[in-house]
């Protein structure tokens, strides 16, 4: 719902000074946790998320095991203090949906058949939220999976586009998201040029959708490079 009188675009620039096709600043740190098998801290503007990976490890209960491949689990969780109004701990409908969507976004790149009967657990904690947390979580998780040594075909990169004041723009922040007309998070496998996640909220014409999809896919390519660089740095350090 748009606040009255708010103008999200002035003189061709967004409130935070970005151009329409500009990402917020991104910071990636790999291997930040000791106990996890792999981990990644990811900042995108004011979003602060951290992902940890455990596994492949024995799956309980046994009857849920898959005899042919590993089972991937994904838990997206917001810290109570990550949002304006304290979030009650525990899963809600939104986090259940995001966990599902994010798991499905990552599944195509994971060589699950290497580890039958096991589970691979991805845990994503949102420490601070400013719109786009699900995409930040997928980016972090993708790097954390690599850090954990999980065999993967490729990385997954994720970003949202949206529509504000009638313009299709990249990577909405919270003010834009709350006062915008549409939001569309995607995830993609950059090197194969395919989409692994796509959602859309709000209202867009078909042409806006097409423009937005291209914009998001281009941004994923930028994010992919940052993810790769962070991983290379990590391993060159070791």
């Amino acid at each position: 719902m748009k606040e009255e009188g708010i103008e999200l675009i002035k003189d061709g620039k967004r409130l935070d000074g970005r151009g329409f096709d500009e990402l917020r600043p991104i910071k990636i740190e790999v291997g930040v946790l000791k106990r996890a098998d792999g981990s990644c801290y990811f900042e995108m503007g004011d979003n602060k998320v951290i992902a940890a990976v455990y596994g492949p490890r024995e799956m309980h209960p046994r009857h849920a095991q898959d005899a042919k491949m590993a089972v991937l689990k994904y838990r997206y969780n917001m810290a109570p203090f990550s949002v304006e109004d304290r979030k009650r701990p525990g899963p809600d409908r939104r986090s259940v949906e995001i966990s599902k969507i994010s798991r499905e976004a990552l599944e195509p790149v994971i060589l699950k058949e290497y580890y039958p009967k096991t589970e691979i657990d991805v845990y994503v904690e949102i420490l601070q939220s400013d719109a786009g947390t699900r995409t930040a979580g997928i980016n972090a998780a993708s790097v954390a999976l690599a850090d954990a040594g999980i065999p993967m075909r490729d990385l997954v990169s994720s970003v949202a586009v949206g529509k504000i004041d009638g313009e299709v723009v990249l990577d909405l922040n919270a003010v834009e998201d709350n006062n915008g007309e549409a939001d569309m998070p995607i995830a993609m496998i950059v090197r194969r040029n395919v989409i692994t996640s796509l959602q859309m909220d709000g209202r867009m014409t078909k042409d806006e959708f097409k423009k937005g999809l291209k914009l998001a896919m281009n941004a994923c390519r930028q994010i992919y490079e940052l993810q790769r660089t962070a991983l290379i740095e990590r391993y060159s350090e070791m």
Binding site: M1, R93, R94, V96, E97, S99, K100, R103, E104, E107, P108, A182, M184, I189, R192, N193, V194, I195, T196, S197, L198, Q199, M200, D201, G202, R203, M204, T205, K206, F209, K210, L213, K214, M217
Partner: protein, 264 residues
């Protein structure tokens, strides 16, 4: 184990059919199954509809109650969309609290209603900041033969059109119908063996690597999308699905209008 083998066999069967341009029930790849829409089926509900798409069957009921508005929208009513995948409807549904599938179903339908601004929420405010109507849209699945989203979206919109505001029961006065500003229509497609299929059956959903729902408004704009499952989709394919979806939505909308007139 026996069951898993049957699943594989069915998947192969559907896959091979589709590769030959055919489907289990003989229809074309882009055809919907027969749609039946009946409204006002539940007297105790403020609005209701029963939708069948082939063997898939869903009842949607709308109830209104009084409550407080959200603090950030003190002058607007509230919509709560809920889906129950009761175990009556499918051997794979289990009793218990909503799981990720029922949550997703409810949230995709909700997204269509909300994104298209189907309901004028301002009209549902009784006393700013204090008292508003809460519109519960309850999706009750009776038979799951695939494509619940399209059936539930049709049912939700039909129920809303059909809803009487129970002013009297709460000692209020005012108009007694909802102001429905838009009639969003969801079109769900899946990809099997490189082919796009509209309105997947249960077996086709199981054989598909990926799927996509696109929700269209009357003017052809989109107000909701959701990709399903862990297969990936190419950009071209998505664009194609959006075009196919737009066409099917038009047809679905005509079908809907016809049946609403008769059944409503």
């Amino acid at each position: 184990m026996g069951l898993e083998i049957m699943d594989d066999v069915k998947r192969d069967y559907v896959y091979n059919l589709v590769r030959g341009g055919m489907r289990e029930d003989g229809r074309g790849l882009l055809d919907y199954r027969e749609i039946k829409l009946e409204t006002g089926v539940i007297k105790k509900a403020e609005g209701s509809a029963r939708v069948k798409i082939g063997n898939t069957e869903v009842i949607v009921g709308v109830k209104l109650g009084l409550g407080e508005p959200f603090p950030d929208t003190p002058d607007k009513g509230v919509i709560i969309t809920n889906a129950e995948l009761v175990p009556l409807a499918s051997p794979e549904f289990e009793p218990g609290p909503p799981n990720e599938d029922s949550v997703q179903l409810a949230r995709v339908v909700d997204r269509g209603i909300r994104g298209s601004e189907a309901i004028d929420l301002g009209e549902l405010c009784i006393e700013e900041g204090e008292k508003v109507w809460i519109v519960f849209i309850d999706i009750h699945v009776l038979d799951n033969d695939g494509n619940l989203v399209d059936a539930a979206t049709l049912g939700a919109v039909a129920s809303l059109l059909n809803t009487r505001i129970p002013n009297e029961r709460y000692g209020l006065t005012g108009k007694d119908t909802l102001d429905i500003q838009e009639r969003p229509v969801a079109v769900t497609m899946v990809e099997i063996g490189g082919e796009i299929l509209v309105d997947p059956s249960y077996n086709e959903e199981n054989a598909a690597a990926s799927g996509l729902t696109v929700i269209f408004n009357e003017d052809g704009t989109i107000s909701g999308m959701q990709k399903y499952w862990s297969g990936s989709i190419g950009e071209e394919e998505i664009m194609k699905m959006v075009e196919i979806g737009a066409e099917r939505a038009e047809e679905l909308r005509r079908e809907f209008q016809d049946q609403i007139k008769t059944g409503g």
